[in-house]
């Protein structure tokens, strides 16, 4: 899987309430509709600034807070296919995998706004290329996670396999 996009930079501890506010979830659970309000409490103009295919680049603990999958769905709804962060909250990490967003854990501190980022995820490794030079390379993900990602998320995985036993 090869992705190429521009990064939008965020700091540490971007929580799920910032990604999408609870008061918006009272009106709809439609990810496209909600994506208009992505990050609105910390950056009201963010949703208007992004183009489909852009990446989010964050610090530590991206997606902390609520376990609600809607936070990952809204990111997907905004057309963001990749998030790079120093670390993810474990619930967001799972939800990202399950909704088909590619999550890359690496030291993001040297990525600057408007850098062109390329992410190449294979079974052997995930490579991050920034402005045409190799920026980071990570170990391959465990087979369980790779299988779910290869299916395009957990819904497609379950439709195909129907269970977790005997698959890996």
């Amino acid at each position: 899987m090869l992705y190429r996009g521009k990064g939008h930079i965020f700091g540490d501890n971007i929580n799920t309430d910032y990604i999408i506010s609870s008061r918006r979830k009272r009106d709809t659970l439609n990810e496209l509709e909600l994506s208009k309000y992505l990050m609105e409490d910390i950056d009201p103009k963010f949703a208007a600034r992004i183009s489909p295919g852009d990446f989010i680049v964050a610090g530590n603990n991206f997606g902390c807070g609520s376990a609600m999958e809607i936070a990952a769905l809204v990111v997907r709804g905004a057309g963001i296919p990749v998030i790079l962060a120093k670390s993810f909250s474990r619930t967001f990490y799972r939800n990202g995998i399950n909704t088909g967003i590619l999550l890359v854990v690496c030291d993001t501190s040297k990525i600057k706004p408007d850098d062109m980022i390329e992410v190449n995820a294979t079974d052997a490794s995930t490579q991050v290329i920034v402005n045409n030079s190799i920026y980071a390379q990570t170990l391959p993900l465990p087979e369980t996670i790779r299988t779910i990602i290869r299916c395009g998320g957990l819904v497609a995985y379950m439709c195909k396999y129907g269970d977790f036993t005997g698959v890996f």
């Binding site: 309430d17 009272r26 910390i42 999958e69 087979e143 996670i145 819904v155 379950m158």
Partner: protein, 412 residues
């Protein structure tokens, strides 16, 4: 064989083989829980996964607790989707007004020592109070677990937190929880488990343990577990077996906290790990107080708050919202006259629910207001107004502020 932590033992039991930290495993779960925050999407995804029947309808529990009473027609439709799922025999349903999922699962007997419980809510870590693993997951994971009865996990490393000493008067488990979150930071236990130990554990009530385990997700922890002891045994009434760490279990880190040195604590806006003492912020004007939530909406919390308030009414203009965590707690508080006392002081008593904690139910603060709350999160806009400031503290601290209208150390 190398020694194991409590969490490694519980995962081993549910994986059907000996497992250790950092292994990726498939484990059977005991209970799957979803709320009205996560349940409707879960049902949608369950259908998309071509789910025909859940692995065991007795072990799938849906709780209507975030939006109580129902605020609009759209949420009403979501609630109805959960009711229809229950009526089709796929799950147990706990209706509006029954209370908060994390209070109800233990109350209704779903949580036992040694269990592995997954919940569609991050504060599912609360079940660790009962010597069990409780951990939050999203709706795809919930739907898949409802179908298969199993889920993939990475067995977490464990940080051991050793508690010694004794609480000073009016210093509570909430203050300890805030202190730990401040010490570890919002990502200090990311991907890891927390296991409590030490001589002071025995003096923690089950309510205290629920408060502590509840808040540990704010360090990024996957779960937080208490050992089982006489206090746990007394809670379950009948004899239960516990899971204990081996003497040679490997912990990734060990921290000792002496309660003798602990003061009333606060999490300042707008991060839970932005922790300070109440004492350093006295004189700050406070306009609103929240007494409730899955962190501190139990009978002991209500009683402590009234003890602090004594005969004093609310400070002029102070809005105090009291939200019992369950119907059972509400009824008991009524029987003991606690609710009447709150109302006579001028407080507003809300139905058992998550209440105003995340802005899903009424109780939205005004712009510029400072709120002191027993809840677990204080992010910008958490309670539905981005221009308000949320301070997290203990029930004792909320009560002390409620009668002065200022940030006040309880017992002062």
């Amino acid at each position: 064989m190398a020694g194991q932590t409590i969490v490694e033992k519980i995962f081993s039991e549910h994986a059907g083989k000996l497992v250790y930290s950092n292994e990726n495993i498939i484990a059977a779960v005991d209970v799957v829980m979803a709320t009205d925050g996560s349940g409707p999407l879960t049902i949608d995804l369950y259908n998309k996964m071509a789910g025909k029947r859940v692995f065991n309808p007795e072990k799938v529990v849906m709780v209507l607790d975030h939006y109580v009473p129902c605020p609009n027609d759209k949420v009403a439709a979501l609630h109805d989707s959960m009711r229809a799922f229950a009526q089709s025999g796929q799950c147990q349903l706990l209706e509006l007004g029954e209370g908060i999922c994390h209070q109800l699962l233990p109350e209704k007997g779903y949580v036992k020592p040694g269990n592995l419980i997954v919940g569609g809510d991050s504060h599912s870590t609360t079940y660790g109070a009962f010597n069990a693993i409780g951990t939050g997951i999203g709706s795809s994971d919930l739907a898949a677990t409802m179908i298969s009865g199993k889920l993939w996990f990475r067995v977490p490393e464990t940080i051991k937190i050793i508690i010694i000493g004794q609480f000073h008067k009016y210093v509570t488990a909430k203050d300890l929880a805030l202190y730990i979150v401040g010490k570890l930071g919002a990502n200090g236990a990311i991907y890891k488990a927390i296991e409590f130990a030490g001589s002071a554990v025995g003096q923690l009530t089950m309510d205290d343990r629920m408060t502590l385990c509840n808040m540990m997700v704010e360090t990024g922890a996957k779960c937080a577990v208490m050992p089982g002891d006489d206090v746990t045994q007394a809670y379950f009434k009948s004899s239960v077996g516990f899971v204990a760490s081996d003497d040679d279990a490997i912990f990734s880190d060990s921290i000792t906290i002496n309660l003798d040195n602990l003061q009333p604590m606060l999490a300042l806006p707008h991060q839970v790990d932005n922790v300070s003492t109440v004492e350093l912020h006295e004189e700050l004007s406070v306009h609103m107080g929240i007494l409730g939530t899955c962190t501190n909406g139990r009978l002991s919390d209500l009683r402590l708050a009234l003890e602090i308030m004594g005969d004093a009414p609310l400070a002029p203009g102070f809005e105090l919202l009291v939200v019992p965590a369950s119907r059972q707690i509400y009824i008991e508080a009524l029987r003991q006259g606690l609710i009447e006392k709150f109302i006579l002081k001028g407080a507003i008593v809300l139905p058992p629910s998550c209440g105003p904690c995340c802005g899903s139910s009424p109780g939205i603060p005004s712009s510029g207001e400072n709120i002191v709350s027993t809840a677990n999160r204080n992010f910008i806009g958490r309670m539905g107004n981005v221009n308000s400031n949320i301070y997290l503290g203990s029930p004792a601290t909320v009560a002390a502020c409620a009668i002065t209208g200022k940030m006040t150390c309880p017992g002062r």
